[in-house]
């Protein structure tokens, strides 16, 4: 299902992009839906899309051995995930599973990278948002770690 700039404007993640840039993103994006227990991707999968969760709840985790899934935490609405799709070797660091029916914006990573190279302003904004996502993920992980240590 296709998305409009109006749809994207409703999501905080897409703040600060110009209307033209949002139009470009909407052309390379689609809306995908998942059912409970659907696996969006596995750890070590090659990724071709960057995702932003629109509705629902997803769980992110790692696998120590086959079938032994460790849930690390939820991805909440408005969060970006599958950022590894933007950086070589485009391999996922974790698996993501739907815990409730979910609606996700899927952005074609190859087209996104082309636009990043073409439009500096777009590239800077996008990379900043990805950097911030990873920074927050790291900070939240440290928060989680400190909580565990205090127990």
């Amino acid at each position: 299902m296709k998305l409009t700039t109006g749809d994207l404007k409703k999501i905080r993640f897409f703040d600060h992009y110009t209307d033209k840039q949002l139009e470009t993103i909407s052309k390379m994006s689609s809306l995908k839906e998942f059912k409970v227990k659907d696996i969006l991707f596995e750890q070590y999968d090659e990724l071709s899309e960057v995702f932003v969760l629109l509705e629902g709840s997803l769980s992110l985790g790692i696998s120590l051995a086959k079938e032994k899934r460790i849930h690390l935490g939820s991805i909440v609405e408005g969060q970006l995930f599958s950022w590894s799709a933007v950086f070589s070797p485009y391999i996922s660091t974790a698996w993501v599973m739907a815990m409730a029916p979910a609606k996700v914006i899927a952005i074609d990573a190859k087209k996104l990278n082309k636009e990043i190279e073409k439009d500096c302003d777009f590239g800077f904004k996008t990379m900043s948002k990805i950097a911030q996502t990873i920074s927050h993920r790291l900070s939240d992980t440290r928060f989680q770690l400190m909580n565990q240590m205090m127990l």
Binding site: R12, F13, S57, S59, H71, L72, G73, S74, V76, E77, G78, Q79, M99, A100, Q132, S135, H136, S139, D140, R142, F143, Q144, M146, N147, M150
Partner: protein
């Protein structure tokens, strides 16, 4: 000398109800024997006769004046004995003390509340106070995290808030149990969900020190200014009056200059999250 109130003498309050919120947490419903009122965010020194005293922020609405509710977690000697009290017992109340939430400063604003663990007790009082003036507010968003689903006190609160105009409430837990179908992770992740107008927003943070530290850092990263963030600080207290020195945090007496501070006031004070 007798015309001046003795600042160390409590007023008596009768315990009328004990509500079991969780294995470690109970809410005491008290009827003070003298007229008593408090501002939301202020605290009282609650005592058990002859045993000891501890500071608590009432969790009831400041607009209900015939009774007050205090939510107590069993953590040490005094709270253990408090948990054994039955309705009909008398407790002592000194207060209200301190600087509470400056609710008038929230008029016209979007109030984002970041809470964790036992911090929900003072937050509930604030939510009641904000509900009372909701016509004067833009919106109120609660983001709350607890260790497990069972650790969240006042579970019905979330449903009620989500069906109240201008209020939104979100929950997450660190460790889910079998029946949990909500978010898992630290409370800062919930901030990704919310839509707010930064220029017109203020943030209130209340919970364990680690949560307050990471929460404040995240809010600053999101663009909140230091005087837009209100923190509810906790310290070992004895007198509650800015005299005994136990609650000193840098040059501040948390009991008198706080417990509510803006981040701007505290940012140069070292070790506030210790």
């Amino acid at each position: 000398m007798t015309d001046v109130k003795n600042i160390y003498k409590p007023i008596k309050a009768r315990l009328t109800e004990v509500i079991d919120e969780s294995p470690l947490i109970k809410t005491f419903v008290l009827i003070p024997e003298e007229e008593f009122s408090f501002g939301t965010g202020q605290f009282i020194e609650l005592s058990v006769d002859g045993i000891g005293e501890a500071p608590f922020t009432p969790s009831s609405s400041p607009h209900v004046t015939d009774k007050i509710e205090v939510t107590v977690m069993r953590t040490g000697y005094v709270t253990e004995i408090m948990h054994n009290l039955k309705p009909g017992a008398y407790m002592g109340i000194r207060g209200p003390y301190g600087r509470g939430y400056p609710v008038e400063a929230f008029f016209g604003k979007e109030v984002v509340i970041l809470g964790g663990g036992c911090g929900l007790a003072p937050i509930r009082s604030l939510l009641y106070a904000l509900e009372h003036i909701k016509d004067k507010l833009e919106k109120v968003i609660l983001c709350y995290g607890s260790k497990t689903p069972a650790d969240c006190v006042y579970k019905p609160l979330f449903k009620r808030l989500n069906s109240t105009e201008k209020f939104e409430a979100y929950r997450t837990v660190d460790k889910p149990d079998e029946g949990w179908d909500g978010s898992v992770g630290v409370v800062t992740t919930l901030l990704n969900k919310i839509r707010f107008n930064l220029e017109n927003s203020i943030a209130v943070v209340c919970g364990p020190p680690i949560m307050m530290k990471f929460g404040t850092i995240r809010l600053i990263e999101m663009g909140y200014k230091e005087d837009q963030i209100f923190l509810s600080m906790e310290k070992n207290m004895s007198c509650g009056l800015g005299k005994c020195g136990h609650c000193m945090m840098g040059e501040f007496f948390v009991c008198k200059d706080g417990p509510v501070f803006t981040y701007r006031e505290l940012k140069n004070t070292p070790d506030i999250w210790k």
